[in-house]
């Protein structure tokens, strides 16, 4: 019993890269692949590589955050547009249904913004779909509307596409870094 306890403590070391426990006779860390038995050069290279991946992950997460915020902004804009239209339009029948439509849409955007914080890939794909659908419907039903807010639409589509790519990247990096 006394022999067992000190030896079980001595068999564990902390990995310098990922801070996980590893057996003392392991050549590589089983969690992150850090070369315990490698040269100082190899170990430094591994650590700086890992730092680079972490920086990339931070950047990817930042872009995903941007997509999430863009969704909230679009939601607010949609709701605002709905109210504006309701107040300014002559026909009360269509005004009410357009207001409700815009409010439902605003809620969808907001919900996607929240979902983006939890499941970024799913949310960004869905966000791009619904935004593309609304833009396409507006473009076909009243082609003049393509021009209105075109810059904003192009920027938003860019943000969502970047969001999708960054979400894919973030997933891959999270898996590699084992965070």
């Amino acid at each position: 019993m006394e022999e067992l306890t000190p030896s079980s403590e001595a068999t564990l070391v902390k990995c310098a890269a990922c801070k996980c426990d590893a057996a003392v006779d392991d050549a590589f860390c089983t969690h992150c692949g850090y070369p315990f038995s490698g040269s100082k050069d190899e170990q430094n290279k591994f650590l700086s590589n890992r730092r680079l991946k972490k920086a990339n992950l931070d950047e990817a997460n930042k872009k995903v955050r941007q997509a999430s915020n863009a969704l909230f902004i679009v939601g607010v804009l949609t709701a605002a547009f709905g109210f504006m239209f309701y107040v300014m339009t002559v026909n009360p029948e269509s005004a009410k249904s357009i207001l409700i439509a815009n409010l439902v849409l605003a809620v969808i955007y907001a919900a996607l913004g929240v979902w983006c914080r939890v499941k970024p890939l799913a949310a960004t794909i869905s966000a791009l779909s619904v935004f593309a659908l609304i833009t396409i419907i507006n473009a076909i039903v009243s082609p003049i509307s393509i021009i209105s807010g075109m810059l904003l639409k192009v920027i938003l589509i860019g943000v969502f596409i970047t969001g999708i790519k960054s979400a894919l990247k973030a997933e891959k990096l999270k898996k590699e870094l084992n965070v």
Binding site: D26, A27, I125, L133, I137, I140, E176
Partner: protein, 260 residues
């Protein structure tokens, strides 16, 4: 006794996962080999990342094409039987093209795996019940908030075999082609990119918004997600197709009965 024990001990030490690179024994949860450092599936190879992005591009392209065709159906100038048939056919052709281009991943779904008559009967029964409830609700909402009665059957009435046309275009065609589009093709691509639950949710979401009806979203979304789950779980498109067909058929039958 010792002869019986010895083989078991050696089998125990020989069993268990081994590193593909150097053959060293490894634990279940190891991500890197402790002896040679080889990645045991932790690193995503660049091929997979490319494949994932390609899958996303394809499914977005498909969605956009379908969205454009559906948006055209909103135009007042494109009303009438001929346009309706043309637009429906365009959707069907688009779906067939995309499925054909991805035939190897779509083909397995066309087989009726996990066939069970009792399960099919249960699904279809539930579809009919759900359709009655939703149809009743929609009629109520239409009459109370919009004071109008819409009838799909009335649209086909001027033509020969109006009942058959209604059932073909409102029940049969959507059942087959929407299932092919959203459950076979779309979920196929989504499963390359994300996990099962998210794939069902995303495809259900895209299915729901494609119908372009804000009021119906509250039941279209769960319906789409449910069909997605069933396709993923049962690994076939046919349960979904039958459910969808029964659902739409019930709506048709109610519509026709009410109209007459």
């Amino acid at each position: 006794m010792s002869d019986e024990l010895a083989p078991q001990v050696s089998i125990a030490t020989q069993s268990g996962p081994r590193c593909a690179n150097c053959g060293a024994a490894m634990g279940d949860k190891d991500r890197f080999c402790r002896k040679c450092g080889a990645s045991l599936g932790a690193l995503e190879d660049p091929d997979t990342t490319d494949k994932k992005w390609n899958a996303v591009r394809q499914l977005i392209l498909f969605f956009i094409i379908e969205a454009v065709i559906c948006a055209f159906s909103l135009l007042q100038s494109l009303h009438g039987f001929a346009w309706s048939v043309f637009l429906d056919s365009s959707l069907a052709v688009t779906t067939i093209v995309f499925v054909t281009l991805n035939w190897s991943s779509c083909k397995p779904l066309l087989v009726w795996n996990n066939f069970s008559l009792s399960r099919l009967a249960l699904y279809c029964f539930l579809a009919v019940v759900a359709s009655c409830l939703i149809n009743w609700q929609a009629t109520w909402v239409n009459e109370h908030f919009f004071s109008k009665r819409e009838s799909i059957y009335a649209f086909y009435l001027p033509y020969k075999h109006a009942i058959a046309l209604t059932i073909f275009f409102t029940a049969a065609m959507p059942a087959i082609f929407e299932e092919l589009a959203f459950r076979v093709f779309l979920i196929g691509k989504l499963l390359m990119v994300t996990e099962k639950n998210q794939a069902a949710i995303i495809s259900g979401f895209m299915f729901a918004i494609m119908h372009m009806s804000f009021i119906s979203l509250f039941w279209l979304l769960p319906f789409g997600i449910l069909l997605g789950y069933i396709r993923i779980k049962q690994n076939t498109m046919w349960y979904g197709t039958c459910i969808h067909f029964c659902f739409n058929l019930t709506a048709c039958v109610i519509d026709i009965m009410y109209f007459r």
